[in-house]
């Protein structure tokens, strides 16, 4: 027993001693060490780690230390928040675009507005949605990290089995509804299409926007003081989904926003409204799939993009400068192409599509080409403002209640708009 206690104390001392060394970072012996929180999950962590090693090997004065930061992108936010509160923010972190404005409010971020238009940054070689989401309130808090968009991924086998022709890229929402209905087969547990109603209400809300925009609607007023999503356009948009969900019963209402994926890969979901992040999973699961742009009311196939950012935190001018050097290098087209090929992410810069190596990307990730092309249909960006997470929460709950048959589109959207107006106009207003 005594020996055990001694061994335990010795182990404890060792652990504590070993641990206290790791938190030091910064400038020592002229080198600058950067903390880089990537929020990547296993297969892609390796890709980014390799890129970081290349950078470290070619830049003797900067040492980038990459770590995942959190268990997943969603869990990273509480960690970054706690770290900012404690004054231990990393130098660079991957942050969801929807939180950009909140993070910018911290006063711990940088503003790159003055330098991004100088030569060498090729700022206009980022998609407009990316540019906007990284600049909440005109303050450029970092660099774009990821771009995506929504399209309709479909299971070719299920279409063939139901005797339904593959959807045309020029299809309309009416055709979409009819197709979903035809593919639905309760006896075989096959759903026509998915719609997430919980888990992540941003996911519930953002897929409402393409139909809103296509009908000429807007999310918020230009001054961000009033919710406009309860317009006629919004009601018409939500009514279509309401009919599909409560009349046709062709919609799988996904409560966690993650259940649709196994449903699709196991052949129980015919159409999967989702994005490029599914490509690695679908190919690994050997699903026979293809994808088309979102339907249109008439001819406008507008979609939505939810870009994410690399946010730079202000840990002193030397480290900010080094962070910019690193991200500038990471985002140069050649490195970006390596990243895209390795991870299956869409190219961040339009110019990458013209690089010779782009063909390799298309070959490695079959089916991703149309998604990259579909970025051209992401013409409008979601607003970036601190109240956005709560606005999205109100809207998402409204949409979910309609799809569950508990409210009419008009009533639910009006109520959500009213909540949003309170959130937008009362500073620090809780709830909503």
């Amino acid at each position: 027993m005594k020996r055990m206690v001694l061994a335990g104390i010795a182990a404890l001392t060792l652990v504590l001693a070993a641990c206290s060394g790791s938190s030091s970072s910064g400038t020592s012996s002229g080198k600058i060490t950067l903390q880089f929180w990537t929020a990547q999950t296993p297969p892609t962590t390796q890709v980014i780690d390799n890129l970081v090693s290349t950078f470290n090997a070619t830049h003797p004065n900067i040492v980038v230390q990459a770590s995942t930061g959190g268990t997943s992108t969603g869990d990273l936010l509480p960690k970054v928040t706690t770290a900012i509160a404690a004054g231990t923010a990393p130098d660079i972190a991957y942050i969801y675009g929807s939180y950009a404005a909140n993070i910018a409010q911290s006063g711990k971020t940088v503003n790159l507005a003055n330098i991004i238009h100088t030569p060498g940054y090729d700022w206009n070689d980022f998609y407009p949605a990316s540019q906007q989401i990284v600049s909440p309130g005109g303050k450029v808090i970092g660099f774009p990290a990821l771009i995506d968009n929504l399209s309709v991924i479909y299971n070719k086998k299920l279409f063939a089995a139901a005797g339904v022709p593959d959807p045309s890229p020029n299809w309309t929402w009416d055709q979409f509804r009819a197709t979903a209905k035809k593919l639905t087969n309760p006896a075989k547990h096959i759903f026509g299409v998915n719609y997430p109603i919980g888990g992540d209400l941003l996911d519930t809300s953002w897929r409402f926007f393409p139909g809103l925009w296509q009908r000429g609607g807007q999310i918020l007023s230009a001054n961000h003081k009033q919710a406009l999503f309860n317009s006629q356009a919004g009601v018409a948009n939500l009514t279509l989904w309401q009919q599909m969900s409560t009349v046709d019963h062709s919609v799988y209402l996904d409560p966690t926003a993650t259940n649709a994926e196994p449903l699709f890969t196991s052949g129980h979901l015919a159409m999967f409204v989702s994005g490029p992040w599914e490509v690695p999973v679908l190919n690994q699961a050997k699903v026979d799939w293809a994808d088309v742009p979102l339907p249109a009311v008439t001819t406008n196939h507008q979609t939505v993009s939810g870009p994410d950012n690399w946010v730079i935190f202000n840990n002193g001018p030397a480290r900010v400068k080094a962070s910019i050097t690193f991200l500038e290098w990471l985002e140069a087209p050649q490195q970006e192409l390596t990243w895209s090929i390795g991870s299956g992410s869409l190219p961040l810069r339009p110019s990458i599509l013209k690089l010779p190596g782009y063909q390799e990307f298309l070959k490695k990730w079959p089916g991703i080409g149309p998604m990259a092309a579909n970025l051209m249909n992401a013409r409008e960006a979601m607003p970036t403002l601190p109240q956005w997470p709560r606005v999205v929460n109100a809207l998402g709950n409204g949409i979910a209640s309609v799809l569950l048959g508990r409210a009419t589109p008009r009533a639910a959207l009006d109520q959500a708009a009213q909540q949003a107006d309170t959130i937008l106009n009362v500073p620090g207003a809780p709830g909503g």
């Binding site: 652990v15 404690a86 196994p262």
Partner: protein, 304 residues
């Protein structure tokens, strides 16, 4: 408990007497006809109920040996067609699971050792030594159980950052060094501890620490075992604080690591269930081995 009932320390019970009591009770039961039928009927309720309680774990283990196709079929397969170990190899080979497991062992082990020392010292002091402020302190300690952790997590993080332990196992060990529950457990035990033994020691001229170390602790072994088991289980299962305090994968504990398997768009159920099984087995083992002490631990706290 009511005044006349106090916790009997196990060491005090004479096993022979105990056995005699049981035999006597059994004889009494045999004498009474009506009672004999009750137990049989009891099984009708108990058996199905107990099976329901363990079924999820059985299902977990079975699923960990199924392929993803088997898992994702409707209706689900009940039995793996062959023993598929791909889930386990995914967990063990392509994740940091071995690190997580080791980290959890270190944290839980350190917590057990520290609590054995600190909780028994404090519990003994509250039960046996009259000192200024002891009642107030004991009440304050117990009141901490009412504080929602969500309220204190940020300041706690700041404190641990200031002492330089964030993203180290130290951040996970320090809050587990002692606990209100553990102190209370030992306090209840020592309250019913026969005073005469200590007095004998004091007469022999031992100091308080000596009495505690040489006389009290050896006799408190059953309570210490109970404390150790309950501490291990609590420390092993802790999810929330490690989720916040640790940022690099190799410093994760198993519970935090397990949530990475649930990470977005990852649905390899065989791997998830293999991870869940590997995470659950250690506590199950500790529980099964030390079951009697575990039951004493949770009942001891109530009866104090």
């Amino acid at each position: 408990m009511t005044a006349q009932q106090t916790l009997r320390p196990v060491s005090e019970v004479d096993p022979a007497l105990h056995r005699a009591r049981i035999e006597e009770a059994e004889q009494r039961m045999r004498r009474r006809g009506w009672r004999r039928h009750l137990p049989q009927r009891g099984h009708l309720v108990l058996l199905p109920l107990s099976i329901i309680m363990v079924l999820p774990f059985v299902w977990m283990i079975l699923t960990s040996f199924m392929t993803d196709t088997e898992v994702n079929s409707i209706p689900p397969s009940l039995w793996p067609h062959h023993l598929y170990t791909g889930g386990y190899s995914t967990v063990l080979a392509s994740s940091d699971f071995p690190y997580w497991f080791l980290n959890s062992l270190i944290v839980s082990g350190a917590a057990v050792l520290a609590q054995l020392v600190l909780c028994s010292l404090a519990g003994y002091a509250f039960a046996r030594i009259q000192f200024r402020g002891s009642t107030v302190m004991l009440i304050l300690l117990l009141a901490t159980a009412l504080i929602p952790f969500q309220l204190t997590v940020i300041p706690t993080f700041v404190i641990f950052h200031d002492i330089g332990l964030i993203n180290t196992l130290g951040a996970l060990i320090v809050p587990q060094l002692t606990s209100a529950l553990g102190i209370y457990l030992m306090y209840s035990f020592f309250q019913s501890f026969p005073r005469e033994l200590e007095e004998a020691g004091r007469i022999d001229g031992c100091g308080r620490l000596q009495v505690f170390w040489k006389i009290v602790l050896p006799l408190a072994r059953p309570a210490l075992a109970a404390l150790g088991i309950i501490t291990f289980i609590y420390a092993w299962n802790d999810l929330f604080w490690p989720l916040i305090a640790i940022t690099s994968s190799r410093t994760f504990t198993v519970q935090v690591g397990l949530t990475t398997f649930q990470g977005e768009h990852i649905t390899h159920w065989s791997a998830i269930m293999a991870g869940t099984t590997l995470t659950t087995v250690p506590v199950l083992l500790v529980f099964l081995v030390g079951q009697r002490r575990f039951v004493q631990a949770i009942t001891g706290a109530v009866k104090g």
